[in-house]
């Protein structure tokens, strides 16, 4: 696969100009006691300026590893076997650690999942945000300046400025998550990775946080990569989405197109196994089997053992990610035969 071809599929459904962030052919493996694990397999995608991309998939599909690769924070036993991560054309994977450190938070910030554990329990919220500010201001920011800055950020995310002097345990889950967002915004990053930003929050709080993120994005114009297992959340916030399965991208494209008619049986099954509360209740189609063991992934298409459409070809050959239209690319030999989820039988 040539670089140009990769770039076009990676950009399926996105803008044509040079993207802000490009991931190209990223392949990562973890060395464990039981042998190597292929965590990310030839993943390519691009994020344009001010765009929001959703990465969706089940646990262990590699979406969090992608996020950690972007920050250069993969665990010690991880090896990047191939690929590039380019931020405005500069390959982050080739940067020495001291250079990479300057990009973290300043250019790529992260909204972590599980907002309680993202905070160090022994410092106040302000101290922890100040820390990010002073590092990237090379120690020239005085405390009073930092307080003003954090006050502004708190206003932006809808938190009372007094909250900054509280300790993490004194805030509710929703407040902590807002503070995490404020911290992510502190250095005006170009890209924010939101890793399960609302998991473990109640739906009403989730709704508020998601709306807030969308509003802040339109005001400040940064790019956001949303990572979630919940396809409904992704549908709400992402312009484009990439569906991941077993470390690779199964399908990528503009949200409207993919949700309108998925062209990969895995995306189809994600949609048909998510009960919606709007519209008629349709039959839900469970997926047989379990996600593959990445110590020993199946040959051919990684999805074939669970795929209702699989043939002998799928067991033998791995389908490449191919452009179907300008707005959609899928890694399936039978992409044109994937049924429309709206053809599922109506129950109630």
């Amino acid at each position: 696969m040539t670089t140009t071809a990769t770039t076009t599929t990676a950009q399926a459904g996105g803008q044509r100009s040079t993207p802000l962030l490009e991931v190209d052919g990223l392949t990562v493996r973890y060395e464990t006691l039981r042998g190597d694990v292929r965590a990310i397999e030839d993943v390519s995608f691009a994020v344009g300026d001010g765009e929001s991309l959703g990465l969706v998939g089940e646990s262990g599909c590699g979406k969090s590893s992608v996020a950690l690769s972007l920050l250069g924070l993969l665990p010690k036993n991880a090896r990047v076997d191939a690929g590039e991560i380019r931020l405005q054309g500069q390959d982050l994977l080739r940067l020495p650690e001291s250079q990479m450190r300057k990009h973290r938070w300043n250019d790529i910030a992260m909204v972590f999942q599980g907002a309680m554990n993202a905070w160090n329990p022994v410092y106040t919220i302000f101290t922890q945000i100040e820390e990010a500010l002073t590092i990237h201001q090379r120690g020239s920011m005085t405390r009073s300046e930092a307080r003003r800055r954090v006050g502004d950020l708190f206003e932006l995310v809808g938190l009372d400025a007094q909250m900054m002097d509280r300790y993490p345990h004194e805030l509710s889950g929703g407040m902590r998550q807002r503070a995490v967002i404020a911290m992510a915004l502190s250095c005006d990053p170009k890209v924010i990775i939101a890793d399960e930003p609302t998991t473990a929050l109640d739906v009403i709080v989730q709704d508020r946080i998601l709306r807030q993120l969308k509003r802040i994005q339109s005001e400040l114009g940064m790019s956001i990569i949303y990572i979630s297992h919940d396809i409904a959340v992704i549908a709400e916030v992402a312009d484009r989405l990439a569906v991941m399965y077993a470390g690779g991208i199964a399908e990528i494209g503009a949200s409207h197109t993919v949700f309108g008619h998925p062209r990969h049986p895995y995306s189809w099954s994600l949609l048909t196994s998510t009960p919606s509360i709007k519209g008629p209740l349709r039959t839900l189609s469970p997926l047989a089997g379990e996600p593959p063991d990445l110590h020993d992934p199946p040959a051919g298409c990684p999805f074939h053992p669970r795929c209702p459409m699989a043939t002998d070809r799928c067991a033998a050959e791995k389908p490449p990610l191919e452009l179907l239209s300008s707005a959609q690319a899928s890694a399936c030999w039978y992409a044109d035969q994937v049924p429309d989820p709206r053809e599922q039988e109506v129950l109630r």
Binding site: K76, N77, A288, P308, T311
Partner: protein
């Protein structure tokens, strides 16, 4: 559905995720699916035990300090076991018995002002006293020496009373293991019971046992044992029991309770209660089995502490034992050989190092196990 040959262990039952209730293959539909139960059960137990042993051994081995500990323990265990055999076969009890044996060596000694080589020299004063008041420096005399330096007969020399040091060292190993075993058993039984019951029942049971743990914490075992020895005569069993009780009802109980607490809030405990288990049934079948690995770990640390405690107390002559490593040091000390530096090294080093190494080895072994049984320490 297509299946591939590379399905892994976890997914062998993949059919399980298919439609419910329908038998997935042609297996016996009569409901007697477990007719081969007993054999299968046994075979599976063995399979699981072997698998978990292999996995744990791999984890244990990775951290080499545990293996070092295990090897040292094995060496001392062999020494302890070999002692009665040697006494029965090779060693003449008259000369080699660690307590009542006597073997003074006849050697030719040079008379000197100050002894530098204990095996070859004798000081003037002693020589004049024992032989002939006219003896001068530079003469030689025939004399028996005790303590005698290592020789072929006595690989580690003899002590100030002319007893074989190696034999004492080996019997001392028996004492150390015995003391360690008594203390460890006591600790484990006391701490597991207190910890599990306090964690599961909470309320006043918890309050009482934790206040008593505070009490035992304020009572460091060695000062307490010293205090007890002022009033009672202590022997190995009482020493082991007291040491085990103090550490078992004190710090170990606190640690095990916090571990049991993480078990006691797990859903499977509620699940057992919903299934109809009584409080004691839950503790015995569900809480204790899950804190047992950690219990075993603390057993190692107790053994380590107990060996050291016994040696300290017997060094100060506070317990009634036939022989132990501490007594060996005490004997040397009483006869005034201890602060003479390395000249009489075989009186100080074998016993001192034996205590150190065995306590060290048990601790290392415990550390090595810690990496296996303590999921918090496993690397991500």
């Amino acid at each position: 559905m297509t299946t591939s040959p590379q399905r892994t262990a976890t997914t062998t039952g993949a059919g399980a995720e298919g439609p419910p209730g329908t038998p997935q293959d042609g297996s016996d539909p009569s409901g007697r699916g477990l007719a081969t139960g007993r054999r299968a059960r046994l075979a599976n137990r063995i399979r699981v035990l072997r698998a978990s042993f292999r996995e744990n051994w791999a984890l244990f081995k990775r951290n080499r300090i545990g293996v070092v500990g295990l090897v040292v323990i094995a060496i001392f265990a062999i020494m302890a076991l070999l002692h009665p055999i040697l006494m029965d076969t090779v060693w003449d009890p008259e000369r080699y018995h660690p307590v009542v044996g006597y073997s003074a060596q006849e050697v030719e000694l040079t008379v000197v002002e100050e002894i530098e080589n204990p095996g070859q020299e004798i000081d003037l004063q002693r020589a004049q006293l024992r032989h002939d008041p006219t003896i001068q420096v530079g003469d030689t005399v025939e004399d028996t020496i005790q303590p005698a330096p290592p020789s072929l007969d006595h690989p580690l020399g003899t002590d100030p009373l002319g007893r074989d040091v190696l034999s004492q060292l080996m019997l001392g190993a028996q004492t150390a293991f015995g003391m360690g075993a008594v203390a460890a058993m006591t600790t484990v039984i006391v701490a597991t019971f207190i910890g599990s019951v306090a964690a599961y029942f909470r309320g006043w049971v918890d309050t009482v046992s934790m206040r008593s743990a505070d009490f035992f914490l304020l009572l460091p075992p060695i000062p307490f044992l010293i205090f007890l020895s002022a009033i009672y005569d202590l022997n190995m069993v009482t020493l082991g029991l007291v040491f085990g009780l103090v550490s078992g009802a004190g710090s170990t109980a606190i640690v095990l309770k916090s571990q049991a607490l993480t078990v006691a809030v797990k859903p499977f405990i509620d699940s057992a209660r919903v299934a109809g288990a009584s409080g004691m049934q839950v503790v015995l079948r569900h809480v204790i089995p899950n804190v047992l690995p950690l219990t075993f770990l603390y057993m190692m640390f107790t053994v380590s502490g107990a060996i050291s405690a016994e040696a300290i107390l017997s060094t100060f002559g506070l317990i009634d034992l036939p022989m132990s490593w501490g007594i060996m040091i005490q004997t040397a000390n009483d006869a005034g050989y201890i602060l003479r530096g390395v000249e009489y090294w075989w009186l100080l080093f074998p016993a001192g190092l034996a205590v150190t190494f065995l306590a060290f080895a048990f601790y290392l072994f415990g550390r090595g196990m810690d990496e296996v049984v303590n999921p918090r320490l496993r690397q991500r």
